[in-house]
């Protein structure tokens, strides 16, 4: 039961990677075309990926507590997930801090590009760092890979549905904002 729960939520991490790729694509296309639909796509993908990553982190913490007895083993995947989560959390915070829509979309797109480039570098650094220290060996539930792949596929479909919902919501919010600005200027 515990292993099944861990496989279900822990497979959020590869889905978060896919979401990061979608967010990068959205950001780059936005910077080229300045079409706000792609900015909304980047935001939706980042929010979904971040939620998946948070679920994966919670699953990892709970699993390491029940299996290894400590709350945070400096497991490579867990630490990489935390670092990537922090990077994308900064993206989401930046979006909240800028009011003006065009400036917000442009700055957020730039940060998204930087964030995506940082992910592989961080993953490699953490793997090397871990190899240097003497730490408990990484453990995963038995039968992990087959369970994880099917769960990852399921989570991918859930994430795709969530992204579309968030995209529609962001588009509606933007349309409402545009109407409000037009009404204020009249």
């Amino acid at each position: 039961m515990r292993d099944a729960l861990f496989a279900f939520f822990g497979s959020g991490a590869p889905v978060a990677m896919a979401a990061a790729v979608v967010a990068l694509a959205g950001s780059v296309v936005f910077l080229r075309t300045r079409n706000f639909l792609y900015d909304a796509l980047a935001l939706a993908a980042t929010k979904t990926g971040f939620a998946m990553l948070a679920a994966a982190l919670a699953a990892g913490v709970l699993w390491s507590r029940t299996a290894a007895g400590i709350w945070w083993t400096w497991d490579t995947r867990l630490t990489t997930a935390l670092v990537c989560g922090l990077v994308y959390a900064a993206y989401l915070m930046l979006r909240c801090a800028i009011e003006e829509p065009t400036e917000r979309a442009t700055s957020a797109a730039v940060v998204s590009v930087f964030a995506f480039l940082d992910v592989p570098l961080a993953a490699i650094s953490i793997a090397w760092w871990r190899a240097r220290r003497t730490l408990p060996p990484e453990a995963a539930p038995p039968g992990w890979s087959t369970l994880a792949s099917w769960n990852a596929l399921a989570m991918l479909l859930v994430a795709a549905a969530l992204t579309v919902i968030l995209l529609r919501r962001e588009e509606r919010r933007r349309a409402r904002d545009a109407e409000r600005r037009a009404a204020l200027t009249l």
Partner: protein, 226 residues
């Protein structure tokens, strides 16, 4: 060559402005000395502990003191619409960015080179055993800190929560560079030269510098002009 002259003009302008008032460099130096002092109160430094944590401690001090300086680099241009004047000036945005990066680089390096002897004095560490290689690691790591800090300083210059957003953006993205620099510095301060087990971290530092310098130079026009 005209491009590099423009870069030099911006760099010398910033350096001259900073060295005349010395506000940021004094604050940065004082901050780094205070952090070194606080860490010496935090635990009892024995010989082995010091050798293990020297890299981590030094780079935390450099990152925090450096961010103090980098925050000001574009924020200094806000009064009197100087930033608009610079953006409207007939020089490419990447030249403006590179000039500011170079000025920040020199200033942060100066703070670091003063903090190193202070570290040696407070913690009784012989840090100069592998000094040329330590200097190389300092140069590469400080360039990583400067490039990321300056591009995000340009990005956050007009935000009302600028002082909060800049560290929040910079530190997570700097994690690969900081980890490599910390590992190399710990080894070098401890006396072991850069060998087969350390050269990976050096390659990571160089790769990080190249990738993010390229991306910043491409994207700075978008950031500044919009």
């Amino acid at each position: 060559m005209h491009y590099f002259r423009q870069v030099a003009v911006v760099a010398f302008k910033d350096l001259r402005a900073e060295l005349r008032t010395k506000e940021a460099i004094n604050a940065s130096l004082a901050f780094s000395i205070v952090i070194l002092l606080l860490f010496s109160f935090a635990f009892d430094p024995s010989e082995e502990t010091m050798r293990e944590i020297s890299g981590g401690l030094l780079w935390i001090v450099f990152a925090f003191a450096g961010t103090l300086m980098l925050n000001r680099s574009f924020a200094r241009e806000l009064p009197n619409d100087c930033l608009d004047a610079l953006i409207a000036a007939p020089l490419p945005a990447s030249a403006l960015f590179l000039g500011k990066c170079l000025a920040n680089y020199v200033l942060v390096l100066a703070v670091e080179l003063v903090s190193l002897p202070v570290f040696g004095i407070f913690y009784n560490v012989h840090w100069a055993r592998q000094f040329p290689e330590l200097l190389l690691v300092l140069l590469l790591g400080t360039w990583a800190l400067t490039i990321i800090g300056t591009i995000f300083s340009a990005l956050t210059v007009n935000i009302k929560l600028r002082e909060v957003m800049l560290p929040m953006l910079t530190y997570p993205i700097l994690i690969p560079a900081l980890m490599s620099a910390m590992q190399l510095t710990t080894a070098l301060v401890g006396g072991t030269p850069i060998g087969a087990d350390n050269v990976d971290s050096l390659k990571m530092l160089i790769g990080f510098d190249i990738v993010f310098t390229a991306v910043s130079l491409v994207l700075v026009e978008t950031v500044l002009v919009g």
